[in-house]
């Protein structure tokens, strides 16, 4: 697995290096974006699941005047709070989302605001009250945030962002939290 990831990174960097010389007028391009994430959960939900980690993979399409539409999916795994001792409890989510970004500049450093929304496929085997139950739910999910895209080369970028999310879970325990994301983007074409 490590070899595959290493090969992929080398491929991306090498490709970017060669295409980087053919500098285009804009950095705003269609991109594949892979992001790692850490979520600090809040509220009643956060009293049981303190945080979550996960991964997004997405594709974004650039539009005129600094806009980007993005679709993405991924996997998010929640971690129980240290003092909560439910046996074998797990709460995993697969987000399927669509949204967009607005970039303030089209330059090497591109700050943006972002809004994503869609559905979370929620898989739980123990509910927040600690009762064992295998349950699959489909819940609305949304988040809004800010970040910056750093164009390391013409085709390769790094993304850093922080988002607030308030996903549906239970009426008295919405899946709220702050998400910190770090990603690598690879632009397709020039």
């Amino acid at each position: 697995m490590k070899k595959i990831i290493l090969t992929a990174i080398i491929f991306l960097i090498t490709g970017s290096f060669f295409t980087g010389f053919a500098q285009s007028e804009t950095y705003l391009k269609n991109r594949i974006l892979i992001e790692g994430l850490y979520i600090r959960n809040l509220g009643n939900f956060g009293d049981v699941c303190s945080n979550a980690t996960g991964l997004y993979i997405g594709y974004s399409i650039a539009f005129p005047e600094h806009n980007l539409i993005m679709i993405r999916t991924g996997l998010i795994s929640n971690k129980l709070k240290d003092e909560v001792t439910y046996e074998d409890a797990s709460l995993t989510m697969i987000p399927i989302e669509i949204g967009g970004r607005y970039y303030f500049f089209d330059d090497r450093f591109m700050p943006f605001i972002q809004f994503m929304n869609g559905l979370n496929l929620v898989f739980e085997n123990t509910n927040l009250e600690g009762e064992s139950e295998d349950k699959t739910m489909v819940k609305y999910a949304w988040q809004v945030g800010i970040g910056v895209t750093v164009n390391v080369m013409s085709n390769l970028s790094l993304d850093i962002g922080v988002n607030y999310q308030s996903n549906f879970y239970q009426h008295d325990a919405m899946n709220t939290g702050f998400e910190y994301a770090f990603g690598i983007g690879y632009a397709l074409g020039n």
């Binding site: 809040l42 509220g43 009643n44 956060g46 607005y102 809004f115 609305y140 809004v144 607030y164 308030s166 996903n167 549906f168 009426h171 919405m174 899946n175 709220t176």
Partner: protein, 530 residues
């Protein structure tokens, strides 16, 4: 007694309609000719028919605001020499003004907040929802969304109107429809999280953000239409006043930018290809309790206003074509209907025959006042509201020289719907429930030129409601048949019959079925046709 009451209501409705329509008829220009222009708006089957009374688009309207007959122009008037028009004037909306838009949203948030905080008298000051602090903000962030307890009119009318003002903070500062939708969504989110001590309400966010975009684009276009940049004197003053009344945010921006005092060309898009306002008056009988015995009838006068903007076959941008309907009833609730449907985008499958369109719809139907008591919790009223997307196939099948069968088949993708819930009464008084939903819509009409002689309308929706009792779901249907006959070229009479029915399914309570038949007779006239 009921018969007497019915007769009285019917008599006054007919008398009022006749007097009103007679007055209108005399005010009409005498040279009415039905044009062959092809109107196929199917909504006309159920609200107004599409009249196209005159090939001269200015006839019959020469006394109104910005529209002058003598200059042989369809839209706009130049009552000052054309050479005095300032062609070099740069309209405010030709550039984006982000910070002014953001400031306007802040003002729109501040005014209602300040009224509640400092002006309103609270019997129990601890209930003042404007007492926000960093503590309430963090609590709102931590707890996230819920569904609130506001009544139907607040949630389904007041919130969309507030959202329309947010939307126009973007739209009248140079942003397009889609970008301005971000203003209404973010303005609403800001209010929900920071403007109130209450937990943010998801239904408010949808109704204000999405419903606000719908209503906001409508008032933006209507305001732009009645404002005439080429006029001067009292014509100009009145056009600015009307434009500002329709869209206060646009009026404010025109004032601060100096546009109100400039003469420059009207934007081409602001004068739609087609425009119609019609009015009908009549009476309807509606079964109130819906228990299928059909004995608890409400007979009331009904006055409806219908607006059609643009040509749906030429629409390219959002709301290049839209419809808007508004109705008042003599019985309670008086404010009974407000529906709109605006074109978002579409594709020609076969030119002038088959079109695949996606609309943004807004529905507010408050038909029967709810009756609940402590001893009988079964809900007797009927209301229905949605903010929804409507993808549909629009088709036209010629069956004669001027006669077509026009159909619509589409999907109701309901972002937020409201329906009666028989076992839910919120502490704040809400007696209905919310939820997303889906359904189908089918419409068919026989149209001859401008007239829809016979039409059939079916609408269905499954709503999965979100409040307690949880796991309730509702199947709503509307079915109507309408027929009308044009006695003159601008005047018709007709009737419709149909039924609203609701099947509600509850996890922990008995299911409820309600069936509300309706019969309506009406007279209809075109007030304004361009």
């Amino acid at each position: 007694m009921k018969i007497l009451y019915f007769s009285k209501t019917l008599f006054f409705s007919i008398l009022f309609s006749t007097l009103f329509l007679t007055t209108i008829s005399f005010a009409q220009n005498s040279s009415f000719d039905i044009s062959d222009k092809d109107y196929t708006q199917l909504e006309s089957s159920f609200y107004p028919s599409q009249y196209h009374l005159n090939n001269n688009p200015n006839s019959g309207y020469q006394n109104s605001l910005a529209f002058k007959n003598q200059l042989n122009q369809k839209w706009g008037s130049v009552n000052l020499p054309p050479e005095l028009l300032n062609d070099d004037f740069k309209p405010w909306e030709s550039e984006k003004h982000l910070w002014i838009g953001v400031t306007e949203i802040a003002i729109l948030e501040f005014i209602p907040w300040a009224l509640a905080k400092w002006i309103r008298t609270w019997e129990d000051p601890s209930k003042n929802w404007a007492n926000v602090s960093s503590e309430t903000w963090w609590r709102n962030f931590s707890n996230g969304f819920e569904y609130d307890g506001d009544n139907f009119t607040t949630n389904n009318f007041a919130h969309p109107y507030h959202g329309a003002l947010f939307f126009n903070a973007g739209r009248t500062n140079g942003y397009n429809f889609w970008e301005s939708s971000a203003f209404s969504l973010s303005g609403s989110a800001m209010w929900e999280y920071f403007g109130e001590t209450y937990r943010p309400a998801f239904n408010d966010w949808i109704y204000t953000g999405v419903g606000g975009a719908n209503l906001g684009e409508i008032i933006y276009r209507l305001s732009s239409m009645v404002t005439d940049n080429t006029a001067s004197g009292s014509d100009r003053v009145w056009s600015e006043i009307f434009g500002t009344l329709i869209n206060p945010v646009r009026g404010f921006n025109r004032a601060i930018s100096g546009e109100m005092g400039q003469n420059f060309p009207n934007p081409e898009w602001s004068r739609p290809d087609d425009f119609l306002i019609s009015f009908d008056a009549g009476t309807r009988s509606l079964d109130k309790d819906g228990d299928k015995s059909y004995t608890d009838k409400e007979v009331e006068g009904l006055f409806s206003f219908h607006l059609f903007y643009g040509d749906r076959y030429k629409a390219k941008k959002p709301f290049d074509y839209f419809t808007f309907n508004f109705a008042l009833a003599s019985g309670l609730p008086h404010f009974t209907t407000m529906n709109s449907s605006g074109y978002l985008f579409g594709f020609d499958l076969e030119k002038n025959r088959h079109q695949l369109n996606v609309n943004l719809d807004f529905n507010y139907d408050n038909l029967i006042k709810e009756e609940t008591s402590e001893t009988d919790t079964v809900y007797k009223g009927f209301l229905f509201g949605t903010t929804q997307i409507y993808p549909h196939l629009l088709s036209k099948f010629p069956i004669g020289e001027k006669t077509n069968i026009v159909t619509q088949v589409g999907i109701n993708a309901i972002l937020m719907g409201a329906t009666p819930n028989d076992y839910y009464v919120d502490v704040e008084g809400r007696v209905y429930d919310f939820g997303p939903g889906a359904g189908i819509r089918m419409i068919a009409a026989i149209q001859n030129g401008i007239w829809s002689y016979v039409s059939v309308y079916y609408y269905s929706a499954w709503l999965w409601t979100q409040s307690q009792p949880s796991d309730s779901k509702h199947h709503i249907h509307f079915l109507f048949v309408e027929a009308q006959y044009p006695f003159t070229k601008y005047f018709s009479a007709g009737f419709s019959a149909g039924v609203y029915w609701r099947n509600s399914y509850y996890e922990n309570f008995p299911d409820v079925n309600r069936n509300h038949p309706l019969v309506k007779i009406f007279f209809r006239t075109a007030l304004l046709d361009l």
